[in-house]
Every structure is written in structure tokens, then in C-alpha cells.
């Protein structure tokens, strides 16, 4: 009888309460997690058929959903490994004597134009365009070499033949097609593909650059908030995104909790925003921690383009692009942490950067929390649920039981007290299939796939 919710999909469908079930989990079971295995980004492609993950070791793993089997038409296909490759390697910045981590900060898929799939992956300094293509036939019958590649002795060639293509076992190849390097002095936090499918932006702490996908040796700087005197630095860029259908519009969020919307038609350098979104602060509630907890860790537009969502340490805010003065909706993710901020500051958890995502029709939003909990908020029904990604609930098709954290006082049965939360088990990265109730949730080193129960 554990009912929670999602959405059943298309416009006009009844919004039922759906139950979320375990589907798959990827990754090692053992507790000894190598640094390199820490998942750092998760992203579905535009059809939801492919799911990409990046990790701290610079590797990308792409999963592909199997087509629905004819025997079990009501069962969605599993996600299995499609391709894996080393995207970035560690480098050494000789001028600054600092290491450039190979950790993949973001992966963004390009809309598909032909049989191949393209994605952008970035670490702190360098963005790469990868082409993932399938090869299922190969040419055989060369004149000058054998099928295994060895060269034939020309003297033994007595007849001329035309090589023909023969089928072979499917091979998925990933090759780097473009490398966009040396354009960022600071650490890249976001990349976002424009709706024009020709350009994309990349942002670091102080600057945003606009690239053309074909051109690697030049980019345009469109935002620069570096002060002439670094002592005057008060704010940095934390995330940025292009509008989903207006190719001239993008937003960037800051460490002070503000979002600026820029229109590239206004001027070449978008230092002056077109719109400025910030919720006025209640001076009575201000504390030492206020500025840190108001720092925005993720910003993304709704699929409709009418709204944007921001995530700060304790909450999710939904903004109507037509209203700059305050968000239209605010959801508390883990309000009970307010009484733990001192220790969260001491163990640096207060600086954790949580991401958030929309479901396909923008009716539900999701984000992660600690103790391997993640939260969903239904905007229409004003309901929310806390679920857990854990190996204990990993029987196929088992329904996830909602979790509850008690913030003090009387703890009911099945509730977990704030003091027993494991702050090392953080869910920072989640993704929602663009068209279906399938979600990917990354714990430290495991990837969970959940789906709603189909009857």
C-alpha cells in the first residue's frame, strides 16, 4: 500500500499515483570505493534510449535500452552497456603547478541527426566532442592484404577482385571528433548545447564562452565577471544553460543565489543581464550560513521553456521567466539539516553541489540528498516523497518504500533520525528519461535505474 507518484506521461492522460520500482543497479558491490569510480555526471539522450555516465577517472560509460521484447510487451527493456571509453586524462598545468583533474564534470548529448550519436564531455579545462557510431559490416576481399590485415606478397596476386562488405559482429566505436581546449582559466562547471544545434556554451567560475561545434581554435567570450581587482570578488558563476527553444537566451546562476538571464541579441558581451532573478532575503533569518546555503548548484529550464529550476543547498526553487522578484514555487529538500549546519560546515558537506531535474512533462521535479535518499516533488498535486537507492531494496520490480526523516522529538517507527544519516552517501546526480517514467540515480559509485510499475 505504499503509493507515491509520478506522472503517467502524455498530455491528457490522467495523472495517476504511480509506484516506483527497482529495475537495475550498475557498479561494484564492495564498499571500498576507488576515487576513480565516483560517478560525477548522469545524462539521458534526447530519446532516452541512451544513458551516459561520467566518473572521476575520466571515463564515460554509455548504456542502451534494449527494445521491448515481443514476449513481454509490458516490460521496458533493460539498460545494458553500449560503449565505454576514456574521455579525459589527468594533465599537469605547468604554469600553475596544479593538477588538472580528469573528472568528467558534465556530459551533454547533441540531438541526433544521423545514425551516429554525438556527445560533449568536459573536465575542468577541456571540452571534447565524441562520436559514437556502430559498425556492423566490414570490407573483405582486398587485393593487397589478407582479411586479417597482413600484407600479401604482390607476386602472389594473380587475379583482381572487388572488395565487398560483409556483415560482422556489432562494434560500437567512440572517437573524439573535436577538442575545445585552452579557453578557460578557471574550472568549467557547465556546458549547454544551443537549440540551434550549431553552438554551445561553456562556463567557468568567472566567464562564459560561446563555441561553434565545428570550430575548436576560437570561442567568443559572452560573460566576464572577473573584477579588475580580485580582492573585490564577491560572486562566482555556478551553472549556466541555454534556453530550450530560444537560441538567443541563456541563464547563469551565482554563488549568491541570483540568476541572470541574458539575451545575445542585446550585445556581444552579455555582462548586462536582460533579467535578474533573486529572492529577497528575510533579514531576520540571515545567519553566517545564509550565503553559503543560498549558492545555486544547478539551474535548468523546463522542457516547455516557460520555467527554470534552481537548486541550492536546502531547497529547490521554480521560477517563472516572466517574474524576477521571487520564485513561484519553493520546495524544501531536507529542512532538518538546518540544525546541523555547524557540523556540515566543518565536514565541508555544506559545499556539496546537488543537481536537480524535471520529468518529461515538467510536472514533477527530482533531486538527491544524503543517506542515499532522493526526493521527488509533484508540482500539481503538491505532494512529495523521499525514496532510497540501496542494495537492500534491489529485488527486481520491488516497489520502493517511502522514507521519512524525523528531525527530533518523537521518532516514529520506520523513521530515521537526523543523527543517523550517513553524510558520505550523497546522491548528487539524477536524471529523468525525457519521455517515460524511468529515472537514473547515482550514488557514490553505483548507478540505479528505477521505473514506475506497469500493470
Amino acid at each position: 500500500m505504499d503509493k507515491h507518484f509520478g506522472t503517467s506521461g502524455g498530455v491528457g492522460d490522467e495523472i495517476d499515483e504511480v509506484q516506483w520500482c527497482f529495475s537495475q543497479v550498475k557498479g561494484a558491490i564492495d564498499d571500498d570505493v576507488a576515487d576513480a569510480d565516483i560517478i560525477s555526471t548522469v545524462e539521458f539522450n534526447h530519446s532516452g534510449e541512451l544513458l551516459a555516465t561520467g566518473d572521476k577517472g575520466g571515463r564515460v560509460v554509455i548504456f542502451q535500452q534494449e527494445p521491448e521484447s515481443k514476449n513481454q510487451p509490458q516490460c521496458r527493456g533493460d539498460y545494458n552497456v553500449y560503449s565505454t571509453f576514456q574521455s579525459h586524462e589527468p594533465e599537469f598545468d605547468y604554469l600553475k603547478s596544479l593538477e588538472i583533474e580528469e573528472k568528467i564534470n558534465k556530459i551533454r548529448w547533441l540531438p541526433q541527426k544521423n545514425a551516429a550519436h554525438f556527445l560533449l564531455s568536459t573536465n575542468d579545462k577541456t571540452i571534447k566532442l565524441w562520436k559514437i557510431s556502430e559498425r556492423d559490416k566490414r570490407p573483405e576481399g582486398y587485393n593487397l592484404k589478407e582479411d586479417d590485415g597482413r600484407y600479401r606478397d604482390p607476386n602472389t596476386v594473380t587475379t583482381l577482385r572487388v572488395p565487398i562488405f560483409r556483415p560482422m559482429d556489432l562494434m560500437v566505436e567512440a572517437s573524439p571528433r573535436r577538442v575545445y581546449a585552452n579557453a578557460h582559466t578557471y574550472h568549467i562547471n557547465s556546458i549547454s548545447v544551443n537549440s540551434d544545434c550549431e553552438t554551445y556554451l561553456s562556463s567557468d567560475d568567472l566567464r562564459i564562452n560561446l563555441w561553434h561545434l565545428e570550430i575548436t581554435d576560437r570561442s567568443f567570450n559572452i560573460v566576464d565577471i572577473k573584477p579588475a581587482n580580485m580582492e573585490e570578488l564577491t560572486e562566482v558563476i555556478t551553472a549556466s544553460a541555454f534556453h530550450p527553444n530560444q537560441c538567443n537566451t541563456f541563464v547563469y546562476s551565482s554563488s549568491k543565489g541570483a540568476i541572470r538571464l541574458c539575451d545575445m541579441r542585446m550585445s556581444a558581451l552579455c555582462d548586462n543581464h536582460a533579467k535578474f532573478f533573486e529572492e529577497p532575503e528575510d533579514p531576520n533569518n540571515r545567519s553566517f550560513f545564509s550565503e553559503i546555503t543560498s549558492s545555486i548548484s544547478d539551474v535548468n529550464f523546463s522542457h516547455s521553456g516557460r520555467y527554470m529550476m534552481t537548486r541550492d543547498y536546502l531547497s529547490i526553487k521554480i521560477w517563472d521567466l516572466n517574474m524576477e522578484t521571487r520564485p513561484v514555487e519553493t520546495y524544501q529538500v531536507h529542512e532538518y539539516l538546518r540544525s546541523k549546519l555547524c557540523s556540515l560546515y566543518e565536514n565541508d558537506c555544506i559545499f556539496d553541489k546537488f543537481e536537480c531535474c524535471w520529468n518529461g512533462n515538467d510536472s514533477v521535479v527530482m533531486t538527491g540528498s544524503y543517506n542515499n535518499f532522493f526526493r521527488m516533488f509533484d508540482r500539481g498535486y503538491r505532494r512529495d516523497v523521499t525514496l532510497e537507492a540501496s542494495r537492500e531494496n534491489s529485488k527486481p520490480q520491488s516497489v520502493l518504500k517511502p522514507r521519512k526523516v524525523s528531525s527530533g522529538g518523537k521518532r516514529k517507527k520506520d523513521e530515521i533520525s537526523v543523527d543517523s544519516l550517513d553524510f558520505n552517501k550523497k546522491i548528487l546526480h539524477t536524471a529523468w528519461h525525457p519521455l517515460d517514467n524511468v529515472i537514473a540515480v547515482a550514488t557514490t559509485n553505483n548507478l540505479y535505474i528505477f521505473q514506475d510499475k506497469l500493470n
Binding site: 550498475k26 557498479g27 561494484a28 576507488a34 576513480a36 569510480d37 560517478i39 555516465t53 566518473d55 577517472g57 575520466g58 571515463r59 560509460v61 552497456v81 565505454t84 576514456q86 586524462e89 589527468p90 599537469f92 605547468y94 600553475k96 603547478s97 596544479l98 593538477e99 583533474e101 578557471y186 574550472h187 567560475d205 568567472l206 580580485m230 580582492e231 573585490e232 570578488l233 564577491t234 560572486e235 562566482v236 554563488s255 549568491k256 531576520n284 533569518n285 545567519s287 553566517f288 550560513f289 545564509s290 550565503e291 553559503i292 549558492s295 538546518r338 540544525s339 546541523k340 549546519l341 555547524c342 560546515y345 566543518e346 559509485n445 548507478l447
Partner: protein
């Protein structure tokens, strides 16, 4: 003094504050532990630390040595190095430095 606090409560305004605002209580705790903490948490010091994240190395040789040490720790079954670890007893020569090979270990997600 907040004159709106009814005397019948019998508590100081600060305690009243903590009941209403747990954040302020946490702030008091932090200030008690670190009295020298500045008042501007988001100030340029914190931001500048954020801009330069990462460990500074002396030079690329130092960096490669550190990388090799980590690699040896993660692969305990690797053959023990014939030469003793160089930790600053003498100036290393190019022959002493372990070759840095790119990490070709596959992701466990793909396993």
C-alpha cells in the same frame, strides 16, 4: 531585548531565537568553536580558495612521483619496485622516475 517576548516564558530572547531559528543556534556553535572566524563567509577568501581548487605541486616531477605513488597503492599485486622509493634522499634522475602510463582500467559500471 525583544519586548514582545512575554515575561511569562521566563527565557532570554536568544533562547527564544534558537527555538525559532535553528540556523542561528548553529552559527553560535560555530563561532564558539572558531572565534576567529570572519563574518563574511562568502567573502573573497572563500571564493579565491574555490577558484584555485586542487593540490599545488612543486613541479611536474613532483606531480608524476605523487601519481606513481598512488598507482602503486591501488595495485598492491604489482611487482615490488626494484629500486627503493625516492623520497628526497637524492635528486632523482630520469631513469629513477617510474613511467607514467595512462589509466586503462575499465569502469566498474561496465563490468
Amino acid at each position: 531585548m525583544d519586548s514582545r517576548v512575554p515575561q511569562a516564558f521566563g527565557c532570554w530572547p536568544e533562547v527564544q531565537d534558537k527555538m525559532i531559528n535553528p540556523e542561528k543556534a548553529e552559527e553560535a556553535k560555530l563561532k564558539a568553536r572558531y572565534p576567529n572566524l570572519g563574518n563574511k563567509p562568502g567573502g573573497s577568501d572563500l571564493l579565491r580558495k574555490r577558484l584555485q581548487k586542487g593540490q599545488k605541486y612543486f613541479d611536474s616531477g613532483d606531480y608524476n612521483m605523487a601519481k606513481a605513488k598512488i598507482k602503486n597503492k591501488q595495485l598492491p599485486t604489482a611487482a615490488a619496485p626494484e629500486k627503493t622509493e625516492i623520497t628526497g634522499d637524492h635528486i632523482p634522475t630520469p631513469q629513477d622516475l617510474p613511467q607514467r602510463k595512462p589509466s586503462l582500467v575499465a569502469s566498474k559500471l561496465a563490468g
